[in-house]
Amino acid sequence: MKKSAIFIILLVILSLGICGCSKDDSSQIKIGVIAELTGDIPAVGASCKNAAEMAAAEINDAGGIHLGGKKYPVKLIIEDNAGKADQSASSAQKLITQNKVVAIVGPNASRYALPAAEIAESGKVVLITPWSTAPKTTLDSKTGAPKKYIFRSCFIDPFQGRVLAKFVLDNLKVKKAAVLYDVASEYNKGIAEIFKEVYEQNGGKVVAFETYTTNDKDFSSQLTKIKQTAPDIIFLPNYYSEVPLQIQQAKRLGITTPFIGSDSWGSEELIKLCGKDCNDYYFSTHYAADASTAATKKFIEDYKAKYGTTPDDVAALTYDFFGLIFQALKTAGKNDRQAVRDALAKIPQYEGVTGNMQFKEGSGDPVKSAVILKIKDGKFTWFANAKP
């Protein structure tokens, strides 16, 4: 008797829950956000969340999105992946099946974007990762053909690796480089390998190619080994939370060689953690906050007014993603996953705050230029542009 009573109550609660889910489906546009709010790179997740909320607030203040003569407000559903690959996948699953979002933004780091992208692709929901630069994210793991539902608003690693290798050879004019990278992380490994390949093809020599695994804090052995080979420059394609440790340990071991980095350096947190030790080094990234167009300036000012810091590349790229998805929604004319995907795939080019992006038919990767920034007195300053 008691058991069946509990069972009935449960059933009622469950059915209420289901009704609750499906009721508000049509009155608003739901967009899922998967961000690294905790874990090893929380600054990335925070920027992504801030920019997402700002973009949504802007469109909602303007009355929402016009679809077929009706205005729909945008609702964000923000999930934390805790800096874990498995949680990224389960967050994507939850957003797709439970929250029934029309599209997903994030995760940002390639090692989390990859599993989430697999789920989104099989669930036939658009997923745009603002910051994942690893080529594999948008490619089918079995066939190697582009995935249908996965897009990004940033350039990809083969391009970035090439830009950096050329920059070291042509601008810095040094021919002996060493690389230290995280072998357990998709992004770091990919870009290190491409850098080595391009650098050696163009007459440079990589004298040390050393690795470590995620969460390592002691790099003394690898750095001593690198010191032994006497390189002219050391390439660290690693995340902003690890780079300060690597540079500080290197200095303590008596290494005076300059360092160079990739877009994973581009967080204000780098300066906080590194202090003076990172001054005068270069890294490649998506946009320069100090040399920008009118639209970019407005975005930077709005962001500063709202959150009190200069937006980093993740924030700018996330903001661009929302621009893209709003445009796709308007073209599609309806709040429908498939229609949004088709509209998004047909956008030929987009002028975002991170510059002009051109999409080729059938590929989720934009063609866009990169910038090289120099760290000067604890500030990121524009140094050079690199065209695709």
Partner: protein, 291 residues
């Protein structure tokens, strides 16, 4: 040769930190035959204490070290009283699960305060001396010397004092010793205080040597220190010190002479072989089951 010497210094630095943390595992195991899996997270709390004291109270090196040790030791005693004491007569598995739970609590509590990695300021002046091609930093010397001093003090306490004798007695036999008038609860609290205090000191030194700290930093280091304790013979204090230095040396040397990608693979294979040869660890003694 200079290269080898430099790598040996690196190994000593890493090894002394592993050894300090391993002591906490081994002391608690010796006295309660329980593995305190929260120890790695207490180590992390030590690093955060150091951060709070150094940044917000702007204390200098010595008071920061003393307050960090004191704070973490007190936390260790409180955790023992609240979480482990009620389970002292429960199956061992319950206590281990509780320890894992306490560890998760500490991680997520710190995480809830702020998820951002923190930077510990340099509390001592950084000087690097270069002899030939070997670079020695003041920090390296500090970590190695301070760890050795703490270990010598501990060894003295355990081998030469009355409290130390009581600790050794309890680890020898838990049923007879209380009958001899040894205050078991006090001694257990003292063991936790010393073990976690050393973990806190290790956390602070780790934070100074690798100055970016985050709530998850204790997990991997904790596991490695646990392995050190097992390699040295869990329950044996001198064994834990030797185990820590061995693990540090193996990790650094493997990366120094093999491709660094194989570091963990080669390092743990070596330790595995060592445990096949000596299953009770280097200084551990087999405990035959009495019927």
């Amino acid at each position: 040769m200079a290269y080898l010497f430099q790598q040996a210094l690196n190994a000593l630095q890493l090894g002394s930190i592993y050894a300090l943390i391993a002591l906490g595992y081994t002391m608690v195991y010796g006295i309660l035959t329980m593995i305190n899996f929260a120890h790695g997270d207490l180590f992390m709390v030590g690093a955060f204490f150091c951060f709070l004291l150094a940044v917000y109270l702007e204390l200098s090196f010595v008071p920061t070290l003393l307050f960090t040790i004191l704070g973490v030791a007190m936390l260790g005693v409180v955790i023992e009283r609240l979480a482990y004491k009620p389970l002292r007569n429960a199956p061992r598995v319950s206590a281990i699960i509780t320890a894992l739970g306490v560890g998760l609590f500490l991680e997520n509590f710190t995480l809830a305060l702020s998820p951002y990695p923190k930077h510990i300021p340099a509390l001592i002046e950084h000087t690097t001396w270069t002899i030939g091609t070997v670079s020695i930093s003041s920090l390296q010397i500090l970590v190695i010397v301070l760890s050795l001093v703490l270990m010598l003090i501990l060894d003295f306490v355990v081998q030469r004092t009355k409290a130390g004798m009581a600790m050794r007695a309890i680890s020898w036999d838990k049923t007879i010793v209380p009958l001899m008038g040894v205050p078991v609860n006090k001694i257990i609290s003292l063991t936790f205080a010393i073990g976690t205090g050393l973990g806190g000191a290790a956390g602070m030194m780790y934070g100074l040597a690798y100055p970016v700290i985050d709530p998850y930093m204790g997990i991997m280091v904790g596991w490695k220190a646990f392995i050190s304790a097992v390699v040295g013979g869990i329950g044996n204090i001198r064994g834990a010190m030797i185990g820590g230095f061995i693990l540090g040396a193996v990790e650094i040397m493997v990366a120094a002479f093999f491709p660094s990608t194989y570091r963990d693979f080669v390092a743990f294979t070596l330790l595995f072989i060592l445990l096949i040869v000596r299953p009770y660890g280097i200084l551990g003694k087999p405990h035959p089951q009495k019927v």
